[in-house]
Subunit: 406 residues, 2 copies
């Protein structure tokens, strides 16, 4: 039997209702939406148009042509940042972001730095929550873009998007948010929140892999990153992935309908998970913000336990130690490091990503399993014995988090 | 009833056998291949590995890790050209290509020109066939890349890939080919043909839209164009489109098995189509090379007839006047222009893209339909009346093709 899936930040299963809407475009309706000389192409074009409206409605965009379809959020993030920075109307300027952003942002700003752009990271506290005053201080006359994620994929911390948007608009700086984890979990409205660019991924919200979108507010000019044919108002060329786009549209419509009830259900499940772990296991740390947090996320460090051993022992539940994009490497999470968690503790961390399929029974199952194995693994740890006996173990680098005013 | 589909250069239907292989990855096997801490992720990873081997085997690549998955051929073309040109180890240099390339090549070299690269177009004759001696002459010490399509999507002309590869290898210049139209129709082997970079699209060979690949020969260094997480050996970041990739692999395996018989069948159909049109309609011109031609392509100019009117009249068959990427515009084909066809004649051109579903009955149907409507539409053309009466109509710009030693 397959493990219980509890890694919904990495990816989500395709919802059967979304698949049902995709199927015609994987069978009879196979036209290329650019082939408008015949009905096959026009039929595909209509499906793309409809999906564009569904995505726009979901995020509160005023015009569906503000939606640019991409191959996913990584491409959307790249298009947002490079599209702003490398547009011929702009010079080499300044970018603002967070050290806890997705690698699609961090690797891209790193590349832009090598090309002569300057980058500053807005201060975050130990919960990963950003400092709005510091943002105000950092904005310069040559600041080209503020890019702040709506929610962190590892520790679940939500950022004050509307407040950032307000500051950005006042200061005349475009504002991009990678909303991949937040969409479908918390309400986002690009007009209300003054967002200029917003990255979307289908597969994080029960849609298919290989498709995403970038919301580009009217008037924001981007340099295209993939050229050839001028699709998507010249911002992104290439034959449109019709089935994927239909799936993204359907996923958005479904998320809008289900979100209020489902997010509340997940929040209750998550709080139950946190409560049981904190009540029934000692030496645990909840990483991320306790309140401003994705309803489906928990992230715990279990001191004195090696994370990989714990994941292996708990393999009846599919969990991860961090983001999918870095979990293959043996490095500890850069997100936990950025909020000041010591390496030793970061190595003992597990991310819980709840989703539609998860139940209270799943939470009980995983907590019982964790308890069993955390206790067993700690029995092999001399440090745990010392801690229990009251010996000061901070000298061994444990619990640096609690002292570090990062 | 839907029209008969005869636009297989624009896109092809997803083969039901390919869809069958995709389905598990749209349902139960939904893992993120980067989530290797659990079985969901590892299962997805194995599927991607298998597809990588299928694609590699299909094009004769020696190692499956020479395959970089992309969102399609447009992205693959962009990665090949920009990846070579913008790699930090290389300076601003020189690129060689054809004026009849896909827009993904032409728009990309145009952009690189603006960034200080120089571009030369290798001479082509009126059949679109490139001049190997001219290629030899054009290569300079700073030539960074030769990019020549394996087959043209409009006029079907095949290029002498192996000869280009030989020259490129001798002169030490990397060689890229956009093989989108050729793959699955004519044999291509990257080792035999000395190809360094090759672009693949799934949806042109009965696979899904939204997925493609770039073959990158070992040792060829590319600058990544989409950053974030270092997937695909650092050359292309972003969550892998598992279902799409499985579909591409399956399409490659299927094409390898079916190609010899199917290409021969299509060649016979195509020759029958060409023969009937040439025998039964006057003032027609076959565009493209008569011999070195895709087995499934025909492209005819029907003088004295407006192409759009003819397409509309023949709407029981899905045809196009050119490539999908430009057919929405009212401009006449840049490919026909590049081989020296006058605008007036280019406007009367129709592309026939035969595929698996097409039969001899379809060919008879389309030829009968064309005859009926060409004759009817010509009755409204004073130029046609003059031509029939032996009046010199070249003064009206007809038939420029036959005089222009382009």
């Amino acid at each position: 039997m397959k493990p219980i899936y509890m890694d919904h930040h990495a990816t989500t299963p395709l919802d059967p209702a979304v698949l049902q809407q995709i199927m015609p475009y994987l069978t009879n309706h196979f036209g290329n939406p650019s082939s408008t000389t015949h009905e096959y192409g026009r039929q595909a074009r209509r499906a793309v148009d409809r999906a564009r409206e569904q995505v726009a409605a979901f995020i509160g965009a005023q015009n569906s042509d503000e939606i640019v379809f991409t191959s996913g959020a990584t491409e959307a993030d790249n298009l947002a940042l490079k599209g702003i920075a490398l547009h011929p109307s702009r010079g080499k300027g300044h970018l603002l972001t967070l050290a806890t952003e997705h690698k699609a942002i961090l690797d891209t700003v790193e590349k832009l730095k090598k090309q002569g752009f300057s980058v500053d990271f807005i201060r975050i506290d130990r919960d990963g929550w950003m400092d709005l005053d510091h943002l105000q201080e950092l904005i310069r006359s040559d600041t080209l873009l503020i890019s702040v994620q709506a929610a962190n994929s590892e520790i679940g911390t939500l950022q004050p998007i509307a407040e950032i948007g307000k500051i950005a608009r006042e200061r005349g700086v475009p504002f991009h948010t990678d909303a991949v984890q937040a969409l479908g979990r918390v309400p986002i409205d690009v007009v209300r929140d003054s967002v200029d660019l917003l990255s979307i991924s289908a597969h994080k919200m029960y849609g298919p892999k290989g498709v995403g979108a970038l919301y580009v507010r009217k008037g924001v000019r981007l340099a295209s990153q993939i050229d050839g044919g001028g699709h998507e108002r010249g911002m992104r060329s290439g034959t449109l992935n019709v089935a994927g786009i239909v799936g993204l549209g359907a996923a958005c419509e479904m998320a809008a309908a289900e979100m209020p009830a489902e997010s509340e259900r997940l929040r209750i499940l998550r709080d139950y998970l946190i409560e049981r772990i904190e009540n029934e296991l000692d030496y645990t740390t909840l990483n991320g913000h306790r309140v401003e947090r994705l309803p489906n996320n928990a992230n715990f460090s279990f001191a004195f336990v090696e994370g990989e051993s714990l994941l292996l022992a708990c393999r009846d539940v599919a969990l991860s130690s961090g983001s999918a994009c870095t979990s293959a490497s043996l490095q500890s999470s850069y997100v936990l490091k950025a909020i000041g968690i010591a390496d030793s503790l970061a190595h003992c961390s597990i991310r819980f990503g709840l989703g539609k399929s998860n139940t209270r029974e799943h939470v009980d199952f995983v907590v019982d399993l964790l308890k069993k194995h955390v206790v067993r693994l700690r029995e092999m740890s001399p440090l745990y014995e010392m801690a229990k006996e009251g010996i000061d173990i901070d000298q061994f680098n444990w619990g640096e988090h609690s002292h570090d005013e990062h």
